[in-house]
Amino acid sequence: MEESDFILGLFFSDENNLIYDNIKLSEELPEENKNRLKMLSYKFLGPIFLTSAERSEEGWKIDFIEASLSLKKGLTRNVDILQSFFNINSTLCSEEGLPTHISALIGSPHTEDVKILHDKLVQYIHPVILQGKLVLESVLGSDFKFSDFIKKELKRGINLLEFSLGKARKMYWEEQQQYYCLGIIERVIERGIKKTSNLYTFNKDDPLRKLSLDFIPSFYTIAILPDYYESLINETLELFNRKSIFSNISVIELSNQNKNIFYFEEFNVENDIKKSYGAILVPNFGIPDEAKNISFYRRNLRNILDLNKDDPFEIIVKINPNFKSDKWCTKSEEDLTKISECFDKKV
């Protein structure tokens, strides 16, 4: 594959939070873009482990983000052929018990086999870095230079990921999971500017709302993630000179030990207005009768978009009858603080 065909970056953050990166760059990129790309690693690595003064967010990691890419209206010349864009993250603890993180950024003209890329990163590239450091430290002693070592390993890692791109996608058998919905996020963007952003969820006094906090880092965190990553991905596309396409978040996956969150969105674009609806889903919530599979949620989110009513609550209540019709705005910091105060306290 030509270097200009894809976007590929590998970022590593060690126990001391020092960040190293390897980004495959096309020679055609302007110098300014290449410099700004260096900051990308901080932006992608930053939130993958969520830290906060609130204990509830400890241990939560962002494992995977996928965005769908669409052509901007009117731009049919010099079209950027990118079909998939995703960010795969891995967190492993060193021998000292301190977390290290590795993040792969991939934009490809093909529909990639995400599982094999994920497995290569998580089962090989990341552990090899940790183990290699230990072995070489023991063999070389004070002659061991971590910066040289990590440079070589990131180069090997990125080459291994690149080699997997464009390969035939395998079908994997997976047991169908049942999920419970904790909230719906509504986002409306007009000509690149955020117009509306709302959260639909339980009443703040509903015991289900309090129970939800055992399954998510916080409503505040979940509410900001789609906008944050969508902007970041659009910024990345621009830095890589892919100006004819824009992104929409498809999936965000988070985990904390045995807890998982699956967030996905459906969207449409009409007259320069992009509307998206996302469902915050968790497995094993404890109400099996109300748990549904992903296609149920997908169908209903699509229904909201297709029917295009002013008030989507008619369908939102089908997704979870325990939700209230109140829209909780998530647009500004003030709105988010209100959400945090109302929804993120157990007492």
Partner: protein, 339 residues
């Protein structure tokens, strides 16, 4: 679960092998048990010699959780894995050795490494596991395995790390270091085979080029014959025949599915068509400058064609389609103008 998956993936017919082992055991019942297994394995074309295999068994006998026969079965299973890995390697295109090592390690050996460690005792050192990889996976035509030298070489390269009394997992580094030379050597073999194959093709290609070269020119024999027939008996040539002649002329050069640049074939087409038509003219119609005149006429026709058809590169069939009517009209007019 891992163990079952790997055993299914690289299944060996243990029943058949066990029966064969039993026959050997009955035949050589006076031999040391390790020697019997060594003979059994060597008879499977594994190992340099029975003695070398015996020495390996002797060393690893107290390092495995299972019996030495099970160990022998795993050596056989390793050959199956090697076969699959080699089949993959033959088709792979790597930019460097490191990529080859990482890709093959991930695809074929990570799972196997976890499996192999389940049959070894916990106190087996990393260099002993690494040496075992060389024993199992290096082709025997390359290496003669002397167990003492082999272990010494690996001991110096691969440490076993502990934190206080707890062993630190460095399995992937052991795997990578163990497979380094094996995969490099195998991939060198693949590259050498490819080069030899390419050289063979070059030699054959040069011989075929002569005949192929002829196919790169236009063939207007049919048109030549048509003109000649007309010159002799002045009988009207049907449009359908002209059509056939022109299509035959174009198809002799253009192939469906292959792309042609207009600038590449323009001169060839002009010169060939002019030559064939000129060759068809009898003395009555031919003049000293007939050929040049024909070339000029055809050039004008093609220039006019170019003002309308500006696309530079097309599939062969598309060129035939586009040029057909223009050349047909030219040929028809040329014949009508012959006096």
């Amino acid at each position: 679960m891992e163990e079952i998956n790997l055993e299914e993936m690289y299944d060996i017919d243990k029943d058949r092998l066990f029966k064969y082992y039993e026959r050997i055991k009955n035949q050589f019942s006076n031999l040391d048990p390790l020697k019997i297994v060594a003979k059994f394995l060597n008879n499977q074309s594994i190992g340099d010699s029975i003695d070398k295999v015996y020495n390996i068994f002797d060393y690893y006998n107290d390092k495995i959780k299972k019996s030495i026969l099970d160990f022998a079965f795993e050596w056989i299973r390793a050959q199956k894995i090697r076969l699959e890995y080699k089949k993959y390697l033959i088709r792979a295109q790597y930019s460097d050795y490191e990529l080859a090592i990482d890709d093959c390690a991930f695809l074929f050996f990570i799972k196997y490494d976890k499996y192999l460690r389940t049959i070894l005792k916990e106190d087996v050192k990393e260099f002993e596991i690494s040496a075992l990889y060389e024993i199992f996976f290096i082709p025997f035509q390359i290496s003669s395995v002397n167990i003492k030298n082999l272990l010494e070489r690996h001991r110096n390269k691969i440490p076993t790390l502990f934190k206080e009394s707890k062993r630190i997992n460095t399995s992937l580094i052991t795997l990578r270091l163990a497979l380094e030379q094996i995969i490099k050597s195998d991939y060198d073999g693949v590259l050498l085979s490819r080069r030899e194959e390419a050289q063979k093709k070059d030699i054959m290609g040069t011989k075929a080029f002569g005949s192929q070269n002829m196919q790169m020119e236009f063939n207007g024999t049919l048109l030549e014959r048509m003109i000649k027939t007309y010159c002799f008996n002045k009988r009207e040539i049907k449009l359908a025949d002209i059509d056939n002649g022109i299509v035959s002329f174009l198809n002799s050069y253009f192939k469906f599915g292959k792309f042609y640049d207009y600038d590449e074939f323009e001169e060839k087409l002009k010169d060939s068509l002019a030559e064939y038509i000129n060759n068809g003219l009898t003395e009555r119609y031919k003049k000293p400058d007939s050929l040049e005149f024909l070339k000029k006429l055809i050039k004008e026709v093609l220039s006019e064609f170019r003002t309308v058809h500006t696309i530079k590169k097309l599939d062969g069939a598309a060129w035939v389609n586009d040029l057909k009517s223009v050349l047909k009209n030219f040929f028809f007019k040329f014949i009508n103008d012959l006096t």
